[in-house]
């Protein structure tokens, strides 16, 4: 054991001396690992960022809200069974709420009808197209997670009367009112004027796919008056206790069957969706993105590792006589193996350390330049990167070190 420690420290000394005497070569070789580690680390932060963004996007749906819809939030093979289902009507909200309030100890709080379609929104000469126009009631605010940048949501009175008021998303406000306050201005949708009473603060994008800020929300009666055709409706139902999701789901299923007047033998002709279901659908996609990303960046690290392997082979070749001498002086196979493994590992560790420093600086830079980009540099990542560097060193050093340890001392001593 003592002998092993001496050999180990001896090997470290040799490795450091070797790197010092071959500065250019060591730097160039380490460069491969540096680039690999930078790529892997940045990919790691990006994946962590995606994870954070994903969770944030999911939070938009609220983990305490059930959605009654025609379609389930998951891929289905038998789509024809869902296509012919009766549409969900906003009118269901009223009987659902009646049943909820009549049920003692109900797990549900309130049902909120929503109806949506895409339209253009105009103000003066500006126009934003493909804006999600949503009609709902004042209770919508209970089921949602957004805040107001300015103004307010419409109240119950406006909601019932179907006043021509609306609340606009951040992107809409930004596009239509670049230099003025949107509050109390009227925007035109389908030629109808709606007075802006609130601006929702920035929500970001949903998984980077579409903006959650390109939205206009208005009272349901007004929506139905002007956009009744071709809209999709859902009923949002708020839970009392999100830990009792299954019970709430069952209760809502029962209520919906009553509302729809389904006979006991009939199947449900609606779907009850929740955030969790969406998550379990999207998680595999997210994971495969992560795996693909890590694989591609891992390849660059692999190329770096091949570089180290190559240079270690060259080093073994160049120092064949030295290996022979060491063997003649009593170095065992293990000693020689260890020596070259440590040399390649030291090189990789150096590369990993420099790469990590670069990656950290780049992350800090990106974080400064794009504050919205969810970048995530963690201690765990540092540990993993260093571990990956060491593993890379061991991996790339093993073949040459093995070759060196197997050298015949006679042949090695005679090598020119």
């Amino acid at each position: 054991m003592k002998r092993f420690t001496y050999e180990l420290s001896e090997s470290w000394k040799i490795a450091v001396a070797q790197m010092r005497s071959n500065k250019t070569r060591s730097t160039l070789t380490a460069l491969g690992v540096i680039i690999g580690i930078v790529a892997v680390t940045l990919m790691g932060t990006a994946i962590a960022g995606i994870q954070v963004g994903f969770d944030k996007s999911m939070a938009i749906f609220g983990d305490d809200v059930l959605y009654v819809s025609q379609w389930p939030w998951k891929p289905v093979d038998d789509w024809w069974n869902y296509r012919d289902r009766k549409k969900i009507k906003t009118e269901y909200a009223e009987p659902i709420n009646r049943i909820i309030s009549a049920t003692p100890n109900s797990n549900l709080v309130v049902a909120v009808p929503t109806s949506s379609l895409l339209r253009s929104v105009k103000y003066a000469d500006s126009e934003v197209s493909n804006v999600l126009i949503r009609g709902t009631v004042s209770d919508y605010i209970i089921t949602s997670t957004f805040d107001f940048q300015e103004g307010r949501f419409f109240n119950e009175l406006e909601s019932r009367a179907g006043a021509n008021v609306c609340v606009i998303g951040y992107d809409v406000a930004d596009a239509l009112f670049p230099s003025e306050r949107p509050i109390d201005k009227s925007v035109l949708i389908n030629g109808q004027p709606f007075k802006v009473i609130g601006v929702i603060s920035r929500q970001g994008t949903f998984l980077g796919l579409f903006s959650l800020d390109s939205i206009v929300v208005m009272p349901l009666p007004a929506f139905q008056k002007y956009f009744s055709a071709k809209s999709d409706s859902d009923i949002l139902v708020k839970l009392k206790d999100k830990t009792r999701l299954a019970e709430a789901r069952d209760e809502l299923t029962g209520i919906m069957r009553r509302v729809r007047g389904l006979a006991p033998e009939k199947k449900d002709d609606f779907s009850i969706n929740e955030q969790q279901a969406l998550k379990s659908t999207l998680d595999p996609i997210k994971n495969s993105i992560a795996i693909a990303g890590l694989f591609v960046t891992g390849l660059s690290l692999f190329v770096g590792a091949i570089g180290i392997m190559n240079i270690t082979f060259v080093s073994v070749k160049e120092r064949t006589r030295e290996i022979g001498t060491r063997k003649a002086l009593g170095a065992r196979r293990r000693t020689i193996l260890l020596q070259f493994l440590i040399e390649s590992t030291a090189l990789c560790l150096l590369g990993g350390f420099i790469g990590l420093t670069f990656a950290y600086a780049m992350c800090a830079g990106i974080g400064k330049a794009f504050p919205s980009f969810p970048i995530h540099f963690s201690l765990g990542l540092v540990v993993v990167s260093m571990a990956v560097s060491i593993l890379t060193g061991l991996f790339s050093g093993f073949a040459p070190a093995w070759t060196a340890s197997r050298l015949d001392p006679v042949a090695a001593l005679r090598y020119e």
Partner: protein, 265 residues
């Protein structure tokens, strides 16, 4: 394993003094016992018989030169004696231990503790100073760094390089380099010193100095095996073995033993 040490200083005898300066000394117990060893190499299609049955006994505190032209099997025999290689057939006992059956790591241990190598090309580590070069066998022997330093410095002192401890090989002359190499060979207190053409890369004057150093080591009780093709160098040894075509052509050690036997009776 280290039972048969060289007799320290004493044991000089004047019984067999017929050969003026090259006295035959009564010698210690048998250190190396080689019996009928052969070594074959495969070179392409051909099998080369480098050694064709060599028997040799070397006793403690001998000074022996192994001579022969190139291709005589001299180098192969040296590799066998140095435990760098194992014979194809035959028996090799080193200090009573059977070497021919040892694996690589056991051979490495024997080389480390029992054999001090001196090479023609010195084979020093270029980036390490004298002290670290001499320490190297002690590292492989598992000796702590303080003791290593101390012993290496003492041996360097012994070979006359006490003021060159921190010089690197390229800062030393050829003769000094070979002295460092000799110090390295001595540092682990080996049973034999195996020198392969130790003066081959030195001018004749420096070569003589190195041979004088070997002479003094011999006088202090070391066992020395010298492999050379130069008769001038071989003359320093007390016994000479000539090899030719993989056989021992002549061995004046046999004569020596006759003298011994005669002296004993």
């Amino acid at each position: 394993m280290r039972g048969a040490r060289r007799p320290q200083g004493g044991g000089y005898s004047s019984n067999a003094n017929t050969m003026n300066s090259n006295q035959i000394r009564p010698i210690g117990p048998i250190l190396i016992d080689i019996e009928n060893i052969t070594k074959d190499y495969v070179m392409g299609e051909e099998i080369v018989h480098a050694l064709r049955g060599v028997s040799l006994q070397i006793r403690s505190n001998e000074y022996i030169a192994i001579m022969g032209p190139s291709g005589s099997g001299k180098s192969t025999l040296m590799n066998m004696l140095g435990c760098l290689d194992t014979p194809t057939s035959g028996r090799y006992e080193f200090n009573g231990r059977d070497v021919s059956a040892m694996n690589d790591d056991e051979l490495a241990a024997i080389r480390n503790r029992e054999i001090g190598f001196v090479f023609q090309t010195f084979n020093l580590l270029p980036r390490a100073d004298s002290l670290r070069n001499v320490e190297l066998p002690l590292v492989y022997a598992g000796i702590d760094s303080e003791t290593r330093r101390e012993r290496a410095a003492r041996v360097l002192q012994d070979v006359g390089l006490g003021d060159r401890l921190h010089h690197k090989p390229n800062e030393l002359s050829g003769g000094q380099r070979q002295r460092v190499a000799i110090a390295r060979a001595l540092v682990n207190d080996p049973s034999i010193i195996l020198a392969d053409e130790p003066t081959g890369n030195l001018d004749s004057k420096t070569g003589e100095e190195i041979m004088a150093l070997f002479e003094s080591l011999y006088r202090r009780g070391h066992t020395i095996i010298l492999v050379t093709h130069e008769a001038d160098i071989a003359r320093h040894a007390r016994r000479t073995v000539h090899l030719r075509d993989g056989f021992i052509e002549s061995d004046d050690g046999a004569v020596a033993r006759e003298f011994e036997a005669a002296a004993a009776s």
